[in-house]
């Protein structure tokens, strides 16, 4: 099998008249951590649903070489998926969930689940209903990470969690799941928090792919210059992607090398994903009103 875990070509998905995912093409190789970034309604969840065969999509889509819609059962043996509406049954004890998954999933290891949970504050005897929101999500991740799969798909996994729980979640994900072979795709709009975790980023803007790039290439392709207010007009005249405030002044973000005459006027800084995200996915609310809750 090839090193590509996901191959998507010209994916288009519609809800009635509204195009939720618009001719999106990308590839996900093994051993990567992909961030799927976009404002609410940008199409993140819709796209993820197509990846796990919950929604049909026009175009070509292969996940682990399979057609997600037709070969869903086979696919889910090798793909872990935590949806944004993830719930665990409130009445169940954690130990019961482990027993249940052991019976349901051929690649699930109860022993590994217990090892992972031992790292958390969750006890096997706990009932789901007695756990905090952060602990439930942590439990969910531990259960999923105990599946010997090749791809993890996480839709807004840390939404509504406090900072401690978020950190614990990502710590477990990086430490226990990522092994250089498996890949993760995680959607979020808390961009700054996961920027450093990512190897690649996909930015969706109103269904269209605004950017698909590795983080290494971000540093190569985009240039940010921090500068004093005195040269703001010069920067503006060069039409940067974005001008924004940074500590101790302003910065201008350029796609590619900025004009030579600007270089002595500013200082190169590392362009952050948040800035790129803002620059490439403007006006989150502008078009929203006419499609309100089309889902």
């Amino acid at each position: 099998m090839s090193d590509l875990l996901i191959e998507a070509h010209e994916l288009t998905m519609r809800y009635g008249p509204r195009t939720a995912v618009d001719h999106v093409s990308f590839q996900i190789p093994k051993g990567r951590v992909f961030g799927l970034l976009g404002h609410n309604g940008a199409g993140k969840t819709t796209l993820m649903k197509a990846l796990v065969g919950l929604l049909p999509a026009q175009g070509q889509l292969r996940v682990l070489g399979l057609d997600p819609l037709r070969e869903r059962v086979k696919l889910l043996e090798q793909v872990c998926w935590i949806p944004d509406v993830a719930v665990l049954p409130r009445w169940a004890r954690v130990s019961e969930l482990i027993t249940m998954l052991g019976g349901l999933h051929p690649r699930f290891s109860a022993e590994r689940a217990r090892t992972l949970l031992a790292r958390t504050d969750v006890s096997l005897r706990d009932k789901v209903s007695s756990l905090s929101k952060g602990m439930v999500v942590q439990t969910h991740l531990a259960l999923m990470a105990a599946i010997d799969a090749r791809l993890m798909i996480l839709d807004e996994p840390t939404l509504g969690l406090d900072v401690i729980s978020r950190k614990a979640f990502y710590e477990m994900l990086i430490d226990e799941w990522c092994d250089g072979e498996r890949s993760v795709i995680v959607s979020t709009h808390q961009v700054e928090e996961i920027e450093t975790l990512l190897s690649d980023v996909l930015m969706l803007n109103e269904g269209k792919l605004a950017l698909a790039i590795s983080l290494e290439d971000v540093d190569r392709r985009f240039v940010a210059l921090s500068h004093d207010a005195a040269v703001a007009a010069d920067m503006e005249a060069a039409h940067p992607l974005l001008r924004y405030r940074v500590q101790g002044g302003s910065a201008a973000l350029f796609d590619g090398e900025p004009p030579q005459h600007l270089l002595p006027l500013g200082r190169r800084i590392r362009p952050s994903l948040v800035d790129l995200f803002v620059a490439l996915t403007r006006r989150p609310e502008a078009h929203r009103t006419q499609f309100q809750d089309a889902r």
């Binding site: 950190k167 928090e193 450093t196 190897s199 540093d219 952050s272």
Partner: protein, 194 residues
């Protein structure tokens, strides 16, 4: 039903109320694995590694070891990296600052890529690059199948890099400032500083 609901609710409070304590203990107690360097998760240790040597030269290209970004002021915050240097470079600087303090000691193994990635919430590729950078400086070496180890003489090497940098970059500025303030050797306290 009402009884069960009440019981549930009272239980539901428990983890919430414990969360504060859990937060403080979490990094230390829950994670025995990466704490290979003693106190790897200890905030005091991190802060020591983080102590800026010269606040003025922050971000200057020559500011390699010792002058470090302000981060992890509290352990439970999400790590914050500054925008001046590539992240792998910042991590390499932090690890180097710890090596200077003897953590881990020479001949000892470095924390694993995964442990560091988990601890600092970094992509493993970034961590690998940081360790490579330390390798290029001759501070750590890979042992086949065992991971990275601190090379004998690493501390001395680091110290000489640091000395060189101080004498070359910081001292001229400091001297200038001392002159401007009219301060001589006799005005300076050489003992009380630890």
């Amino acid at each position: 039903m009402t009884e069960a609901a009440a019981a549930t609710r009272s239980l539901a409070w428990l983890p919430g109320g414990l969360r504060e304590q859990v937060g403080q203990a979490a990094t230390r107690a829950r994670r025995p694995a990466p704490a290979r360097g003693p106190g790897a998760g200890d905030p005091a240790v991190r802060r020591r590694g983080m102590q800026p040597v010269a606040a003025g030269s922050r971000g200057a290209p020559a500011a390699r070891y010792g002058v470090l970004p302000q981060q992890h002021t509290t352990v439970m915050q999400m790590p914050h990296w500054d925008q001046q240097l590539p992240i792998y470079q910042q991590l390499a600087d932090m690890l180097a600052a710890r090596l200077l303090d003897g953590e881990p000691a020479e001949g000892e193994p470095m924390p694993s890529v995964r442990a560091l990635a988990g601890q600092y919430l970094l992509n493993p590729l970034t961590v690998t690059r940081a360790l490579q950078a330390l390798g290029d400086e001759g501070l750590v070496e890979a042992r086949r199948g065992l991971g990275m180890f601190v090379r004998p003489g690493a501390r001395e090497r680091l110290r000489s890099i640091e000395r060189e940098r101080f004498l070359h970059d910081e001292w001229p500025r400091l001297r200038q400032r001392l002159r401007r303030l009219g301060l001589g050797p006799a005005d300076l306290n050489w003992e009380a500083l630890q």
